[in-house]
Structures are given as C-alpha cells and as structure tokens.
C-alpha cells in the first residue's frame, strides 16, 4: 500500500513539474523553472528512497535530494523578490509579480 501511494505521489510530482515547465515556456519566468526543477526532483527523491530503503547508510542521499527541492523553492522566491520579472507574454497563467 505504501509503495502504491508513494508511486502515485511520484507521478503527481512529475505532472506538477510538467505543468510548471509549460508555464515557464509560456512566460519565460525563472520562478516557474525553479518550481519545475523542484517538483521533478521530488519525483527523483521518491524513486531514490524506494531504491535505497533497505540501505539505511545511503538513505540520507534521498533526503538530501528532498532538502534540495525545498531549498530550490526558497531560491525561486528570493530570486522573484530580488530580480526583475522576466516575461514575454501576460496571458494565463498569470505571472507572479512578487512572493513576499
């Protein structure tokens, strides 16, 4: 059951990553690129932790990937608040002006 739920979560991470990748293609806003990378890394984290679940010595690697995903989101927010917004097109999805 846990493997099934984890697999579903991993697939949803990939879907979210692809959505943000599409937003990035549309707006060229780096904020979405960071989000896409983060969610795709979350999927990688799930796969790595499943692969390493019996190897407690190396399981830390999986959790470092997980930490990296959250750090990427923080970087996206800081980058958004500091940098000038890069946008080509203002059609939906609405670009995020600032996150603070």
């Amino acid at each position: 059951m846990n493997d099934f739920i984890s697999g579903m979560t991993s697939a949803l991470c990939c879907v979210a990553g692809l959505f943000f990748l599409r937003f990035w293609r549309k707006t060229r806003d780096r904020f979405f690129a960071f989000f896409a990378t983060s969610f795709l890394l979350m999927a990688v984290h799930r796969m790595v932790s499943l692969y390493l679940r019996d190897d407690s010595e190396h399981l830390l690697t999986a959790y470092v990937i997980r930490l990296l995903t959250f750090v990427l989101i923080l970087v996206a927010i800081v980058d958004k608040n500091r940098g000038t917004p890069r946008k080509k097109d203002s059609s939906p999805p609405r670009p995020v002006d600032s996150v603070r």
Binding site: M1, N2, L12
Partner: protein
C-alpha cells in the same frame, strides 16, 4: 547528520509554505494559493517525518506520511488543472 537533514527539510518546507501564503495574501494569484496549500501539506509531511524518525522512533507513521504527501500533491494538481486555463 540525518537528523539535521530531516529537521532542515521541515524548516525549509514550512518557510516555503509561509512565504507562498504571504505572496498569495499580497498578489491574490490563485497559483500561489494552490502552491502554498501544497507546501503546508508537505511541511506537515516533513514534521511527521521528524516525529516518526527522531522524536518517537518506535511508531511507524509511514502510511500517514505518504498520505499527507499524496494529498498535498493532489491538491496542487487540482489547482493547476482548475485554475491554469
């Protein structure tokens, strides 16, 4: 070392949730709301991880942890499908 990474995961995910919620309060962009709700769930997931592996190691909260992560991502995907068009 592992404990530090678990705690850092919880702290950073909570920071993401708070910053995204503040961003939503300021800009009212629906995408920020769905993202912040997702990160609130992921923060809960990481706190459960800390409780499960550091505070009360005897109790197995794996199902609860997996369910919280699934719910968070499902909420985000719902928001992305519902609000992005």
């Amino acid at each position: 070392m592992a404990e530090a990474v678990f705690v850092l995961c919880a702290v950073t995910s909570l920071a993401c949730a708070v910053l995204l919620l503040r961003g939503y309060a300021r800009n009212r962009v629906p995408l920020l709301l769905w993202s912040s709700l997702c990160f609130v769930g992921l923060a809960v997931n990481n706190m459960l991880l800390v409780v499960d592996l550091i505070i009360i190691p005897g109790r197995d909260l794996l199902l609860l942890r997996n369910l919280s992560a699934l719910l968070s991502l499902a909420l985000l995907i719902f928001g992305l499908v519902w609000d992005s068009e």
